[in-house]
């Protein structure tokens, strides 16, 4: 009798001990990664980016974390380790993969987050929306939110931008967790989807941006569509009209309580206009997904596509009309234009940079191939949920619609990622929910995921040579914005330049590579830049930084020597004088 009573207690103790060890292993992984990242010396000098300069303890930490996760995922016959342990390991993964740059430097990566801070700052100053300024002021939702939060909290904007990737990925994961909760009952698959979502997330769209906010709200809408607003329907009867009508009428709501469905619908009706007001692309993705799921008979409120479409058209016709008048959206449409902008133009540069681009492609292709095989396996077993396939494939419809500055494939792969990960789970965890993976399978998965982590870190931080800024570069940017009188021009050699964060409207900002359309030869670009700078009656300042030079060289637009010649030629022109220099930057004043 005593032994019978003692058995659960002993089991419970063993559980607790195992959970403790797993948590401790997660902590050790975190400590290794944080310590290693903090020891990186800037600037990053490798063409391969951050991955090449992270000390080996970082990778040991990543390997240990993946091994720990799969021990926890394997768990025992009853399922994976306890929820707090799995959540803790996931949190460590987020910090290790998405917070690593914030551990290396206290300056946010890239140019765009600084620009977004500047837009929020400009909105706060103006206290109104002027759509004539630029495209951002035609979709101001996210910036209005950011301006309010920054002003009300008093938080340092740069710190907010620095940690935004960790915060945004945390929000995305919460939404993806809810979505997968509706799409699979297997707890191991649910956790593995979240893990793969992190490992496949090289797209680097989680910085302080409207798209990161839009993706979060998009995932929330998808959660509502596959959750309380889902519909059950019979097998698709083919295209005969009568059968189709009967099939459509035969749908039934998955959520039987009308009050709950109304509540869920109200949430979606709030989120649709907020997404539409915040970002250019996400509402189109939302419209595609709502329409696809509704037409497949898997969403109960059949008028949602109409509502999403009307809101989108109304936004384009009224608040965004100023921008659209000069930028017709179909101008950059077509498969050929999209392919050139998204693929051809991106595959250029130094050997190291090309390798990074190729690794990004490899990572994406590996996940899509796994997903395709997983879909076939699930279909053969009769367990394929068509909603997952539709959610994974429908973002592809965006690809030919717009070149989107060469970023459309990146966005497509991000929108599809949770569902690609879920389909890939059919290959990686082939059994049903009750099947515990063998130790060998768990070891293989840990190794596979470690390799995916290496690819993700390499792809994600592959531009660190030019998108991780030094303190000297930040000093130079602050100096040029201080020296330049209002209305004058500031010309930086190239993107990315960490400027415009607190004087967005004060100066005219241009980059020389934009002016010269990436032809940096001194004979062509020199006169264009000089004439443009000298034209402004308020004067101009030219900014040359280590990072902008690295950007131009790495992407194959110029060589180190060519860039130096170009700068020297400009410095010798009439009215051009050096007014500031430090280890990583030079500023020239151009007198008109």
């Amino acid at each position: 009798m005593t032994s019978t009573l003692d058995t659960p207690n002993r089991t419970e103790r063993r559980w607790k001990t195992r959970d403790l060890w797993l948590s401790l292993a997660g902590l050790v992984s975190l400590a290794l990664a944080v310590g290693a990242a903090a020891s990186v010396v800037l600037p990053v000098s490798s063409d391969l980016g951050l991955a090449a300069v992270l000390p080996y303890p970082y990778w040991v930490g990543v390997l240990l974390l993946n091994a720990t996760f799969f021990v926890a995922l394997r768990g025992d016959a009853t399922g994976p380790a306890s929820r707090p342990v799995m959540m803790w390991l996931l949190a460590v993964q987020v910090i290790v993969l998405f917070g690593v740059a914030a551990l290396v430097t206290d300056v946010p990566r890239g140019e765009v987050a600084f620009r977004h801070l500047g837009i929020a700052d400009a909105l706060s100053d103006m206290q109104r929306v002027d759509p004539n300024i630029d495209a951002y002021f035609n979709w101001p939702g996210f910036f209005a939110l950011l301006a309010t939060v920054l002003e009300a909290t008093g938080l340092d904007p740069v710190t907010v931008a620095l940690w935004a990737p960790v915060f945004n990925v945390g929000l995305w994961l919460a939404a993806v967790a809810v979505i997968t909760g509706y799409l699979t009952r297997d707890p191991r698959r649910r956790w593995l989807v979240l893990w793969l979502f992190c490992l496949g997330n090289w797209q680097d769209q989680d910085y302080l941006s409207p798209q990161a906010f839009g993706v979060f709200l998009y995932f929330v809408v998808v959660a509502m569509l596959v959750g309380p607003l889902a519909a059950r329907s019979d097998k698709f009867p083919g295209l005969r009209r009568a059968a189709l009508a009967a099939w459509w009428r035969g749908r039934s709501p998955a959520e039987p309580r009308p009050g709950h469905r109304v509540g869920a619908l109200a949430v979606v009706l709030l989120l649709i206009p907020v997404i539409t007001a915040s970002h250019q692309l996400t509402p189109f993705m939302l419209l595609i997904v709502i329409t696809t799921l509704t037409l497949s008979g898997r969403v109960w409120p059949s008028r949602l596509p109409l509502i999403a479409g009307v809101v989108l058209v109304l936004w384009l016709v009224y608040p965004a009309s100023t921008y659209l008048a000069g930028h017709p959206p179909i101008e950059d449409a077509g498969l050929q234009i999209a392919a050139e902008a998204n693929v051809v133009e991106r595959v250029s540069g130094t050997a190291g940079h090309l390798l990074v681009v190729q690794l990004r492609v490899v990572l994406t292709v590996v996940l899509w191939v796994l997903a395709a095989v997983g879909a076939v396996l699930a279909w053969r077993r009769g367990r394929l949920d068509m909603r997952v396939v539709l959610l994974a494939v429908s973002p592809l419809l965006l690809f030919p619609a717009q070149a989107y500055g060469g970023e459309m494939l990146i966005r497509v792969s991000l929108f599809a990622l949770p569902f690609i990960a879920l389909l890939a789970c059919s290959v990686l965890l082939p059994g049903d929910g009750s099947t515990q993976p063998s130790p060998r399978a768990a070891g293989g998965l840990a190794l596979t995921c470690f390799l995916l982590a290496v690819l993700t870190v390499t792809g994600r931080f592959g531009n660190a040579q030019y998108d991780v800024f030094t303190d000297s570069e930040m000093d130079a940017v602050a100096t040029v914005e201080r020296l330049a009188p209002p209305g004058s021009t500031i010309l930086s050699a190239a993107h990315p330049t960490p400027w415009r964060s607190d004087s967005y409207l004060e100066h005219r900002y241009r980059t020389m590579d934009d002016l010269c359309q990436e032809d940096f030869t001194t004979a062509t670009c020199g006169p264009i830049v000089y004439n443009y700078a000298a034209q402004n009656p308020n004067g101009a300042h030219l900014l040359f930084m280590r990072s902008t030079e690295a950007s131009v060289v790495l992407q194959g637009d110029s060589s180190t020597q060519g860039f130096a010649e170009f700068e020297e030629w400009l410095s010798m022109q009439n009215g051009v004088e050096l007014v500031f220099s430090n280890t990583d930057a030079r500023i020239y004043r151009v007198t008109p």
């Binding site: 909105l123 206290q127 209005a144 939110l145 939060v149 009300a152 929330v220 959660a223 709030l270 907020v274």
Partner: protein, 114 residues
């Protein structure tokens, strides 16, 4: 007389109290926490409760989603109307929270009757 459930009353009262405190101003880290609660979490929680969602993970997700979405809608509208200030946003969001609590009280009363 309608009885108000403790969670509903707590959310409503907290929204009013925190709005006043944040408008008066707190030291930076406390101000950040209080503002996050009054601008995002309380309205998000109050609105999520109105939806009657019973699934706990979805209800937890709706708190930040609805809070951020509502704040975006409020602040964007204020910018378009040229009446924006962060103080006005704090007041409006706390008003939304209180109104959502009132609606919740009516919901609860209806359930008690049925």
């Amino acid at each position: 007389m309608r009885s108000v459930s403790r969670p509903t009353a707590a959310v409503g009262l907290a929204a009013v109290a925190l709005a006043l405190v944040t408008l008066l101003g707190l030291p930076t880290p406390l101000q950040a926490v209080a503002v996050t609660v009054v601008l995002v979490l309380l309205p998000g929680h109050a609105l999520a409760r109105l939806t009657q969602v019973t699934d706990l993970p979805l209800a937890a997700l709706l708190v930040p989603a609805l809070g951020l979405a509502a704040l975006t809608a409020v602040s964007t509208t204020m910018f378009y109307l040229a009446v924006w200030s962060w103080q006005a946003c704090v007041l409006t969001m706390s008003l939304i929270t209180v109104l959502a609590c009132v609606a919740r009280v009516r919901q609860e009363a209806k359930w008690q009757l049925s």
